[in-house]
Each structure stands twice: as structure tokens, then as C-alpha cells.
Symmetry: C2
Subunit: 211 residues, 2 copies
């Protein structure tokens, strides 16, 4: 099972590392972090770089593609090299997936037209403009396309996929290994649950940074 | 607020990236990934490397130290350079913290003697041998020492710390930004909840790999 984790300048680290940590525990998993050019790729905060071991053109037929999101997504929406690659590998994948605003890249590549999908809650409207049908669920499966909501949701997506691919028991073993028994000290993880003024402040900020 | 994320060969990526993603959203945060030698550091699966921008001896007075865990911990327990550094910086930190088996390194450095602490569920017995008092909680605070359970628990620890440092509202804003509204598709994230035979299999395997 060959998994390609797609990253680019100013992606959000947890978008990629959450599902990587889970999917890399699939039986016979082989994971490549892939970017347009191999080498260190800086995340959105500037404080962390992960190594892309492979260039896009070195990875031609992954079984699973996972596209991370982040503030850098906006720039990649205009990057034909990445969008062409997504279309090309999608023709051969078993699963084409995304976390957070990564779904905007799948949609911009034309892969989510008319499909149920999700994204970071603040990006759902943009996802719709690209012809997808946004839902409010945390992990959305439509055929072989699996999209997850913001940042941390890639962990839930990873476990969902491991269950589909390797069975419930293997997924439970991975959940146990990663001690994924979440106990957030607050209950503000969605726009429905967070204080309304925090939701408004975030929307105002992301309008400034994403457009 | 200067945060040092301590990594080493064969650490577990999510141990570090979970709390990094949360703590890097503190007001005026500055984060350094730190290792004995700067450069790419391979994680436990071999599939991912993160860049340590700083060597241990370049980071002398961080406000927060976060020590990641992973299979590589066993080797670091015998690494005086790391243990000496932990003792030295601990004299000046506001918070000294760990995720997963990272707490064994704090304990081996003598920092958790007689303190309530936690670790990956499979490492609690070893933590006790180092003189700490293991608890079954997911995030344990004893004075300025904050230890988290296995792998994914560093996200909960991060939010707990952000709340203590910057207030509940800032922590809720970070939870909303990272859409941390976990919905695991299974409920097997602790040895109490997982099927008993999976717990036994994991214990048997980790005895092989950790000793």
C-alpha cells in the first residue's frame, strides 16, 4: 500500500502528520512525503520543516493520495504542476483524500465535481464555488474520495480509512497504539460549539489572509 | 514565549507535531525543533524526517520544553548529552513537558522523582521504576511538570497549557482554528476500552522492541 502525502510551502503540519501517523500503520504501508521539489518544506508557522523525500514526478501511481491543507493552499490553487499531477495519479488511486483546505486542491483539479465533500469549516463556501457539495460532517466519503474537515480531523479520517482497508480490528489496534482517546479540555472545536464571537473573529482574519 | 520541541532518531511524529500545532498558536510564540545535531531527524516509521533547526547547545533557556516519545526513547535513556541538557534547561523553564515515552527521559534526568506523571499506557511501569508516580490520566500536571499519555494526547496537553498561559478564550480559539472536535470511528483508544487481546498483543510486541 503506497501512500503519497502531498505537502507544499506553508501547509499545516498536523493536516499531514495526523493521517500519516495512522495510515503508516497499515500492513505493508510505504509512505512518501511528496512536494513539487524534494527537500525541506516549511509549514505555515515557519517554525517547522518536513522533508519531502520525493518530487511529484517521481511518484506516479500511489494507492492512496492525501493532500494537506493550510494557508499555502491559496497559492497552489494556481499551480498547474500540482493540479495536473493530482488528476494524473487520481486515475490510478484506490483512495484520493484530503485534510482541511486540501480539498480545495482536489476540487480545483476537477475531482470533486458534484461530489459530497468537506474542508476546514471556514473554507466550505469556497469548496462549493469549485462545484463540490459541502457537508458539515467531519469525514466525508463519496466513492473513493475521502475528505476531512479542519487540521486535526485527519486523524479521524486515517482511522476510518484503516478500518475500510485493513478491517475494524486493525484500526482499533492503531487507535490503541496512538492512545487516541481524546479528552479536549474545552468544547470549542467547531463553529457550532465555539463562542460566536470567536467564530466571527476567525472568519474576518481568514478573509484577510486567504484572499 | 520560546518553545523547544525535543526530537531524536526514531521519535514518533505526532508526539511532537500535535503539541507543536497547538502551542505555536500562543501569542508571541517562537518554536525551535531541537536535536543533538541540527538537520533532518527520522521518525520511527522511517518514512518522515523533520528538520531540527537547532542543536541542543544552541538552546539554553526555553520557556517551555516539550520532549517527544517513540521507540527511539530507549536509546536516549543512555544519552548523557540529552539528559544533562534537560536538567540544565529545566532550571530555567516555566513549563517542562513530555508526550508519550518522552516522560521516561524527564524521569531518567531525575526531574520527576516523587511527582505524579504519565506516559504511554505501555510504559507506565517503567516510569514508576524511574521514581515517578504514574497516574492513569491523559494529561497530568504536577507543579510546572506536565506529562501526557500516548502519541495523540499531546494535542490535549497543548490546549491545556495554552489555557493556563493565555486564558480559556485563546485556547478555545486555537481549538476552533484546528477544528479539534474529535469523532473517532472506534472507541479503542485506551487499554481499558480496547479489546483485551489487542492490549495483550501490543504489550507482547513492545516488550520485544523496547527492551
Amino acid at each position: 500500500m503506497h501512500i503519497a502525502m502531498v505537502v507544499y510551502d506553508r501547509f499545516t503540519a498536523l493536516d499531514a502528520v495526523g493521517p500519516y501517523e495512522i495510515l503508516s500503520r497499515l500492513p505493508d504501508a510505504r509512505v512518501d512525503f511528496v512536494a513539487e521539489r524534494p527537500g525541506p518544506v516549511r509549514t505555515d508557522t515557519g517554525f517547522l520543516a518536513v522533508t519531502a523525500d520525493k518530487a511529484l514526478d517521481e511518484v506516479t501511481s500511489p494507492d492512496i493520495v492525501v493532500v494537506a491543507g493550510g494557508p499555502g493552499t491559496a497559492e497552489q490553487l494556481e499551480n498547474p504542476a500540482l493540479l495536473d499531477w493530482l488528476r494524473a495519479v487520481d486515475a490510478r488511486t484506490t483512495w484520493t483524500t484530503s485534510v482541511c483546505s486540501g480539498s480545495l486542491l482536489l476540487a480545483a483539479a476537477g475531482l470533486l465535481k458534484g461530489r459530497r465533500a468537506t474542508s476546514h469549516w471556514a473554507a466550505l463556501e469556497v469548496l462549493k464555488q469549485f462545484g463540490a457539495e459541502p457537508t458539515g460532517e467531519r469525514v466525508v466519503t463519496d466513492g473513493k474520495y475521502v475528505t476531512a474537515a479542519g487540521v486535526s480531523s485527519g486523524i479521524d479520517m486515517g482511522l476510518t480509512l484503516v478500518g475500510r482497508i485493513a478491517g475494524d480490528e486493525h484500526a482499533q489496534a492503531v487507535q490503541l497504539l496512538t492512545e487516541y482517546d481524546p479528552q479536549p479540555p474545552y468544547d470549542a472545536g467547531s463553529p457550532q460549539k465555539a463562542p460566536a464571537h470567536l467564530v466571527e473573529e476567525f472568519r474576518a482574519q481568514s478573509r484577510l489572509t486567504l484572499r
